[in-house]
Symmetry: C5
Subunit: 338 residues, 5 copies
């Protein structure tokens, strides 16, 4: 997530310069050809009104794409908001539910009880970090045409697992990470752990089921993330939007020289060049903005800041456990919060 209110001119240029040079070159070429060919009886002008109609139709089509891309981002963000809420609820439930109350004959010591709480809360932290790592892994589908910002270093630790292993015993971590869907298996382990607590008399049926309800919610949240990750915005919608914009951009200078030539005095035709570059840039930018926001879990500038959210949950939950050696919050790096 980009955190500055106004995007730095440098970043805009970094994305735009290649296009700007291309647009300039193309409109210079077209205007030049026009000026060269017209006296020789060849007219390459296009009427602008039909172009304007395409322009509006395409702008409308891109509006639809932008709107859906934003919805994908916002749904992803909402899902991670739900992960925050459920993690806090889980911690409050575990602290308030797992107790000696239903087991007065053989009560655990306060420290042993606290250990049970910590185990369940830490496994929740392991779950959300494992989910984050799974989502940030690049998919099998080809995505090389998205221009990643190369100098953004992911602060995920090198192979990734370390951050999950903080919250799990070593052998459990190894077993879980080797399975098909580590986060799903972690939630499954939570449900088995609850059953053991119930069998051990540390939980009654009411509270067992209320905790299971939270696990159900977590399955739903994980599923929502996986759905957005694994189902890209339908390509037939997305790709044609790109094609249409480029067709419009290619035709634009032909139409603009026509319009300028209508104004009369000859020299102004070359004004078509900067004007064409500007209009092309606006359309190309509208298109790219939607394209870049489509996938919120790709290690990219516009990602949902999952690393920061995971850390915030860690701080809240460990504070609820009374721990004080808390890690610092994640800070934006190069104006980007991941």
């Amino acid at each position: 997530m980009y955190v500055r209110r106004n995007i730095r001119a440098g970043l805009i240029l970094q994305f735009a310069w290649r296009n700007l040079i291309g647009f300039t070159f193309w409109s210079l070429l077209v205007t030049g050809c026009y000026c060269y060919l017209l006296p020789r009886g060849i007219d390459i002008r296009l009427p602008f009104l039909p172009l304007s109609t395409i322009g509006i139709a395409v702008a409308f089509y891109m509006g639809f794409k932008n709107s859906q891309s934003y919805d994908r981002f916002w749904e992803a963000r909402k899902t991670w908001g739900g992960i925050v809420n459920n993690s806090r609820t889980w911690a409050s439930q575990v602290s308030g539910y797992v107790s000696n109350h239903f087991n007065p004959s053989a009560p655990l010591t306060a420290a042993a009880l606290k250990d049970k709480h910590r185990e369940l809360i830490y496994r929740q932290l392991a779950w959300l970090n494992a989910l984050r790592l799974q989502l940030r892994r690049t998919t099998i589908h080809d995505r090389h045409n998205i221009s990643y910002v190369p100098h953004v270093q992911l602060s995920d630790g090198k192979p990734g697992e370390p951050l999950v292993s903080t919250f799990l015993p070593d052998n459990e971590c190894r077993q879980v990470m080797s399975q098909g869907s580590p986060p799903a298996q972690l939630l499954h382990r939570q449900s088995l752990a609850l059953q053991q607590l119930f069998d051990a008399g540390l939980l009654d049926s009411f509270r067992h089921l209320d905790l299971m309800q939270t696990i159900r919610e977590c399955y739903n949240l994980q599923g929502a993330c996986e759905r957005i990750k694994n189902t890209p915005f339908p390509r037939q919608y997305a790709y044609f939007s790109t094609i249409f914009v480029w067709i419009f951009i290619l035709l634009l200078p032909f139409g603009l020289v026509g319009e300028f030539s209508k104004l009369g005095t000859g020299g102004s035709t070359w004004l078509a060049v900067p004007f064409s570059v500007l209009i092309s840039w606006i359309f190309a930018t509208i298109e790219v903005v939607g394209d870049n926001s489509e996938d919120p879990f790709e290690n990219y500038v516009n990602d949902v800041p999952m690393t920061a959210i995971c850390r915030n949950i860690e701080i809240d939950l460990r504070e609820m456990l009374g721990e004080t050696d808390l890690p610092p919050r994640i800070q934006p790096f190069n104006d980007i919060l991941l």
Copy 2:
């Protein structure tokens, strides 16, 4: 679901070539007639401004259709996401709930208990595969005008039932598949199986009802799929969109020759031909994109990848049961994941 980020030019051409030839022929014909008739005093030009107004109105109308088609696809995908979540929840609940705890006098052996778990989890897998097969069956309504990609082979097994029968005893499978709605009857059987477990003392009332809650969810998810399958996008909206676009495309060359003739020097009128083909193709494509995305369960390129989702659930659930002879994940075939 098409999985490449950029659609292969070949696939685009495969859909477009017929139209492109038609557009070229039509605009050649119109431009030729115009050039032939004008000197003879017959003017077939149309003013472009009214055409532009229709173009924008129609683009707007198609925008509405595209938006609703996408919503249908996305709701279908969300529903299958919900099936993933509920299946995982079901497996965790069954493993954690069905136990000897409430039946200490006559406990089952661990293996017998495991069998009970497997039966319930396998019937869930049977349900979702039966639902997939029911949805992929072509409906009674005529749909021949959608151009299916013929060489895409469905990997569903030949008559379909085998994959359901993997998860059910033979006679149950036969009985269920002969009824009106096999998936609904499978869920009904789940609820009867729960009642028997409750009567046998392997489940208490709390857990019985929590499992019933998951079955209720499954009924809702199945109903959502059937609703999308059985209620096509209202034909009055969809069909007129197609008609309007074709009217616009038919009128377009008449308007373009008018605009080109305004620019002056005569030869450029024939530029109307490629320009007309391009604009026609853009409008026809916007229309077709919506049309092809309307129905997400039709064995088609843009389907929800139900086969892959079913397989992923199978892997997750059987891993939760501790099984290791897992089938491989479904891979895209010709860039298409079904």
Copy 3:
């Protein structure tokens, strides 16, 4: 619900012919007047650019209306989808919950228990059929301007009650149908029947409340249908849309003769007539499509197919009861499924 993918030309003409004749007459009149008056110094042309602006603004306004009409239809369809889901859930719950388990001292015979199940499930079928009949009854508000397709016969039986009476004892049916809101009173009776089963020991508190939850859902679904039925799309939005389109259509020929006259050679002015008819028809059709889809419960072509849905539920539920003398599914009549 219209079930053919392409609407038959006959049906389109049936709706359109009156308008088409009117549009032709009007544009002939305007063009004729123009040709007659212009040489006499009276110019009735209108500039087209302002007309185009109205056209786009009106298209935009109709887009809003179409979108809301579709939402009304789709919400109605979703509600009936919910009725399917809740009816299936109700049948599974009743079969799995109402039992001798909580009443071991004086158990019912299997047949008597089955009767209890059937009574509750049949009353659910009575509820949904009563709801359908209530919704299909024409409202008190004047709706004569919607062109009903007169030869579509409702297959509801003549006075309607028979289909409800199939599922209820005679005297209960009579009492219920005489009250203000029969479906609401049927749900109320379900809740009283549950209380009696609870008092008789055939149901425990857990299951009693879970069934009440399903009744609560049914109240919600009934309320949603009644809301859509009783609250038409706000007239200030809907009616002005119609007025605006007709103003646009009336002005259109004045503008078109102006545009054609600009093109130059005189004879082509009469091309304004077919062009005007075409544009008028497109705008009128966009308007009518929204207008006709606004109310999904009016015995109309675009209705939610409630009769077919009710029958499908009947088949599913009676199959769950093990019955075999099932009625056939409803087939479309004249391409229309009601």
Copy 4:
């Protein structure tokens, strides 16, 4: 709520005549000035293309406002639909839950039990009528610029309280109506009444909490109504829409005389006057339609028909109690149902 399908011309004129006179006067003035000044070398024409651009941008902006106003109305209507559903559910729950079953030692007589039911159901009726009266009270914010239809008499009784007092003992009614939020205090009293029934053994814990769930829903529904009432559509969006439309209307005649003057023969310039009035009226009407639908609880033509809904609920609930002296349904007055 206006109930006629086609709005009476009289009502439209009643809203429009002031504007129509104003528009006519203004466009006459501008056209007159133009004709007078042009020969004197002063040209007050505006080019129409930029005006058209503003027109489309403003139409688009109004579309957003209209859409949100409709959403506000529809959410309000949905909320009152929810009040219908919850009231029916409440009546069924109360009748089925409050019983002697849990209190076999000291059972109430059937009549005393019925009294308990009636008290709870009548207080629900008091709640919804109190909510209606609170919502219909004009807010502190200035709203004098909305043109209320003066001759619509509210059938609420003069000071309003009587209708609430029908359902409550006198002293309870007095106490409640003197507090900050009478409806909230009525729901609070329902929850205290439930506690007393529980203490008296007429309700068990299961049913107590299920009824509390319905009260929670009622709090949510009341809160939704208060939110819409107290948070007008943000003024920055709404007010600028009005300003933009009026700017467009003021500039319109300057642009139209320009367009007409382009058509050539001089006399037709005065056609700009009726054309201008028509376009102005369309834009002003689109604007006003949104403005008038924004607030659904203001004693206004476009209100949610709360009085009628309250009466319908009263009839249903009292029929469930077996009462027969039921009041008649509310009828529309001057085509308006309140």
Copy 5:
């Protein structure tokens, strides 16, 4: 929240005057240059049709931004509506659930019980006030380009804590306010307090879990507020909208002088100046309206009126406790309610 129906001209001018002067200066400059340069053979006119196309595309893009900004505001308002509802529900639950019923052997006095109620209800009030203060604190992201209205005094008390401390014992308040997320810790304390009441026999399991359900809701509502606060509207969408509008405004006078020059008689070119200022102002205002509504928790004119809502909840809840020394409702200050 601005409460007047029509925004005061003064406030509009306060926001607009800088821009208006700038627009006037710029269009004077452009028109002047044009008049000076044209006779010298340099033509700086731009054709208007391409500009119109950009104008419409940009208006469309801004429409998307405005719509999303409004959705952010309305979601924030809904969330605070949910806080109202949950707070009232909490108070009714606490009053009705925490009792001597489950603890007949060692009952508390009525006063001691009332104290328990008050403690739980006051901590809820502390929670919502702490949440309000956390949301109103300015974020770390740079926001200096939003023009805060400087003379609006926040009525929050100076350092903020006092209002929270009203509802908490001193030491609890100190502890809580020093932690990472005070509101989350307050909810956690509520859940621990419930556990103690349960251990002390003042609450049974049913009611304990129902209260926990309300705490879960509060976690969700807090999370929704934090999500909106911490995730600004994606900058790539918001910032480019601003850039595009300014590009359009810069180019506008070049296009307008072109259009005016087409009309013919020379003097009217200077009419381009006021016309340009007006169009520029409309586009700039549409842009700014969205920009200013984007963030609903920033101590700003368009904030959700959290202070007023908190006070209203305080009045309702303390009235439910039977208290009478209630604070007055918050009144708008300078037409602004915070």
